[in-house]
Symmetry: C2
Subunit: 306 residues, 2 copies
Amino acid sequence: MDIQSIKHGIGAGNSRALAKAISLVEDGAEEADELLASLDASRIDSSAVIGITGAPGAGKSTLTDKLVAVCRERGKKVGVIAIDPSSPISGGAIHGDRIRMMQHALDTEVVVRSMATRGRLGGLCAAAGAAARIMASAGCDPIIIETVGVGQSEMDIIRIADVTALVSAPGLGDDIQALKAGLLEVADLMVVNKADKPGAEMLAMELNEIARAKGRQVMMTVAAQGTGVPELFDAMREIFESKRSSGERDAQRTECRNMEVVDWGLEMLRPYLYAQSQKQDLETGGDPRIRAKRIVDSLLACGKDR
Amino acid sequence: MDIQSIKHGIGAGNSRALAKAISLVEDGAEEADELLASLDASRIDSSAVIGITGAPGAGKSTLTDKLVAVCRERGKKVGVIAIDPSSPISGGAIHGDRIRMMQHALDTEVVVRSMATRGRLGGLCAAAGAAARIMASAGCDPIIIETVGVGQSEMDIIRIADVTALVSAPGLGDDIQALKAGLLEVADLMVVNKADKPGAEMLAMELNEIARAKGRQVMMTVAAQGTGVPELFDAMREIFESKRSSGERDAQRTECRNMEVVDWGLEMLRPYLYAQSQKQDLETGGDPRIRAKRIVDSLLACGKDR
């Protein structure tokens, strides 16, 4: 499939072209730039990027599935980017992700992309951002980014998403800790999933206290039964629209893209730094930090001339 | 505390000087380089850096505690670097780590340092490597690096450690997946902790199959009671010595330090890239990846001249 047909395929919403395009960008192929330059800016502007995050066991995958189902009922084409915590070595998809992919395998209006963190968190963030733009250009709206666990991938994705829901559930002590730790600062709303389980009311009360202070809302869902999921989707869509009209979303996207530039740039510089460090190791040696400084200083010396 | 007294303090094994020194490096202070240049190369060479890794719930913290106790019984000064998965925002220490720190709070021969991943995995890896060298210069041997969960921080730390034990326990299904996923490729030995729990024998058998193929050994521990921990320590020490005499460890450290140079370099380049991306955003715009390429190309154009 050549670059031209990929470009046209994306415009036509062809899932295969879309998958190829994302791979090209992930692999840093030469054609990637031509492809990214050809994306549909107005579709990118209008489509909502939704982030689903929270601790393992909160039911994020199930909730994402049900959000997809809601979107499909409403005739929307949906993109799903599942951030995969699998071992950097294996690069394989996690079980939950495989299940989801099977579930929607026959629906060409649901595009699922799984991305292994592979440790390139920066790179991951950048790759996910590009994938979201490609999906949007292909007519996906919303694009749902599902992350795993508490950590940096979560923060990166919250950065990419226009609206982020922080999913919690009763019986996850650590989760509360993480919530208090400050994820609330960045999440747009909180979801108490498994709301039919004991402790859900307690959790909701706890969260409501924090949420009120931050002007956030807490919603209850039972993802397994789909209960509360349409309401959740509407709430997120509403937040998206108000952020969009207020200009908050644009400011957010601008900042996020600047960060993406940094992420891509760091990925692109890595091979150069490694080559330099190997050369240097033979020549000079010394503490790694001092060696790094030598390389960086000489690079920035000319960077400054520009 | 000025840089001179910090340098002397490290040589004298003063914990306060040691803590200051690590902070200076973590914060990228100006004096950091002078300090790192003054470290004791022979102590760094002789002290073993031990990595303890594995899935959450395997009992890594308890095992680390007991390894520390074994080292203390043998009159060794121990350094512990606990990689802290706390939210990038909070930066706070995890509960288990706090407990450990309390436990050894009065023992000046146990230096515990907790490092929040803060998402700077690359930077974390570099900072942990530098911290290990500072601890070694202060007479710590071994230095135990404890990581959390399966993921990149784990891979980074395995890279820094001379000998890495992959800790597992019965009833952690995901863990086995991770093991099979390839962590075995990099771990030097496997530990079945909670060996008194049902399923431990099964797990040990499963692991033995994999281990035999890779020429790795599987050891059983009940960290909570300290059972098998002295044997584990001896085994790790033995692996360290044989790697050292075979030169494998030196090759490993050289490679690891080249990677560290890359990590430090990327950290140092981040602010420059961010500043450039902000400038650029106002001037030109375009897809982040294309913008990043423009910045990097112009940087490397002069990098090549060197």
